[in-house]
Symmetry: C2
Subunit: 378 residues, 2 copies
């Protein structure tokens, strides 16, 4: 069933049928009715391919499905993908999914997709210092939004080299304020009377990791505590987290509470607390229950939180299962924000509209606030 | 840059350019070279939309992203999606993702996609009794494969009503042998000396749930044990699992081990064991460590597995985090199997090929074996 069949039945040209479908105001009412009757009688539906040839729009948003790593932290981006699929559908778009092992292969995939399925836009996840993807897309005038702010070049947070930064972005982005999350976690522990609050994070140079560390350090400094010597950096993972936490727990002046850059690290920290407690190497003797709750050995009732408190990041299903407090990202909201910014790129609001650019320019980014979910571990 | 530009530069017709792209053997070598030089000089690339108009192939495989529910069991289908994206890419396909709340809205989405992006095939997940989706796709001759076998009509496992069944499928499918998984878990517990081995599953009528229950019941029966009265059915979820496990643990003749249809139920069972132990209501007094390990209270060393063993299903990140033994599905292999069966639909092997239909007909399904991952909980 093609546009030609419709044209033949209605006794008009193919151009007229096309006009009825795309610019009905150009067609006289009587002709319009005749074409619509033919469309209905023949059950004709413009295929997306044909529509795309005419409109240049595929109604596809391309995004990457990221490796799920140990299944703990990777689940965050899976939840983002769930939200993105739902938000995109509400705006009339489908998600085109691709996998890519590194930046080079992701850019190769952009190139391939642009020459094949022609997505209307890209949603990039997990931005990093020196991220080469935004420039590639921008040079080709391909619409995109990033979930993750632009971090600038490595070692050059102000982006002097010309790369975009969060303060001066060349594209719309959505992010969650990680520093606000770790600061809230740190303040919660300060309020509970802790002073030696450690931080377990990733090696310097990761935008996300440095941001989360800065929230912890800032909260301590504001409370008059020097954060020096209270943190450890390690690769992400449960075993790495356990090892680094042991160092902080066995220091001459051990920490009494720990804020972590991820739930994987925090789970490792819980393991370290448990094994050091079991072997009598913790000053305060404690015992972890199945939910990660620390109980003082021999204590009646035995379930009051003590002695080393741990807070993770991302509020994964694992955190919930083991009773780990954690900083939660509003992922459905982040996904909706990405689709909202893309829709605005396609159909910019007219001046005077509520969403129109104000005196301080167009709203090209969304920074969302995380929340602290408290469980037994803190 | 269109095919017309290429034709003009090479001094040939548009049809000739199209032939060079799609059926080069029809074109004389000298002409072919001239067209290819023009293509290269102009940087022309056939767009997928244009190619799709000619070939009728979109190189898209559509699949549903399922709700992640409590984030524990839902993670299984996310992992399947990771595998599917990678396997599809290797075969030259991309994944088109959609969300759908129920069967009606999923079929509406099929209808919408067929009229818009025209996927070459569908991968359906989570098949169930009376599943109306396969018939809808088959009637329209749309290629698809299901991850999950056809279960027939509800209450009519033999499919007498004409609906397809696993034994007589109307379409290719991939599944994991759930009954083999719970049977292996049950045999492991029998070998450890347990006799009163319970089962925590879902209400009868779920194909997947009944299959998992049958593996447990069969293994007990083979060992001369009557499974009657040793199981509980409940909705999936940690709180539901805890409640149902309490009933089995507080029965007049309590169970000493438990096989569960999901990790959510198993996590609930661990909670029940812990809280009953803490309040002194379990015959054997035990205590769960942070990893779900049961230790006899007061016992020196205190970490020998005892007294109630629990095995879950799906080997989720949560199972790993809490030390829960679990039945593991080979999800990457299942995803590769789905893509493999689809590719065979598109390009059937010729007779004599290794993959060609044998005396017992075409290989239209793949039933994979799960494995048992043992941790502290058993």
């Amino acid at each position: 069933m093609t546009i030609t069949d419709v044209a033949r039945r209605a006794g008009v040209s193919r151009q007229t049928v096309s006009n009825v479908l795309n610019s009905p105001e150009l067609v006289r009412e009587e002709t319009r009715d005749r074409v619509r009757e033919a469309i209905e009688a023949l059950g004709y539906r413009a295929s997306q391919a044909a529509r795309q040839m005419r409109t240049g729009r595929s109604r596809l948003i391309a995004t990457r499905i990221e490796p799920d790593r140990d299944g703990i932290n990777g689940s965050v981006l899976d939840r983002f993908l769930h939200g993105l699929t739902a938000s995109a559908a509400r705006a009339g778009y489908r998600i085109l999914l691709y996998a890519a092992g590194d930046e080079r292969s992701e850019i190769d995939t952009f190139d391939d997709l642009v020459g094949s399925h022609e997505p209307d836009a890209f949603v990039l996840t997990s931005t990093y210092h020196g991220d080469g993807r935004p420039a590639w897309l921008r040079e080709r005038r391909l619409p995109f939004v990033t979930f993750g702010r632009p971090w600038g070049d490595a070692g050059d947070a102000n982006g002097v080299s010309g790369r975009e930064t969060a303060a001066d972005p060349g594209h719309p982005w959505v992010d969650v304020d990680g520093a606000a999350g770790t600061a809230a976690a740190t303040r919660h522990l300060l309020d509970a009377g802790h002073r030696r609050i450690g931080f377990l994070g990733w090696p310097p140079g990761s935008g996300v990791g440095d941001d989360r560390r800065s929230g912890w350090a800032g909260a301590l400094t504001s409370a008059g505590i020097d954060p020096a010597g209270l943190d450890q950096a390690t690769d992400d993972g449960v075993a790495d987290g356990e090892k680094a936490a042991r160092d902080l727990l066995r220091a001459e002046q051990p920490i009494t509470a720990l804020v972590c850059a991820s739930d994987s690290l925090a789970l490792g920290a819980l393991h370290a607390v448990r094994s050091l407690t079991a072997s009598g190497q913790l000053t305060a003797s404690g015992r972890l229950t199945a939910e990660g709750r620390l109980t003082v050995a021999g204590q009646a009732g035995g379930e009051e939180g003590l002695p080393v408190r741990v807070i993770g990041f991302d509020d994964t299903p694992v955190a919930k299962a083991v009773g780990l407090s954690s900083v939660s990202q509003p992922l459905a909201e982040a996904a909706a924000g990405c689709v909202g910014l893309l829709t605005r790129l396609f159909d910019p609001p007219s001046p005077g509209d509520p969403g129109a650019p104000g005196a301080d320019g167009p709203r090209t980014h969304v920074l969302l606030q995380p929340s602290l979910v408290l469980r037994q571990s803190s």
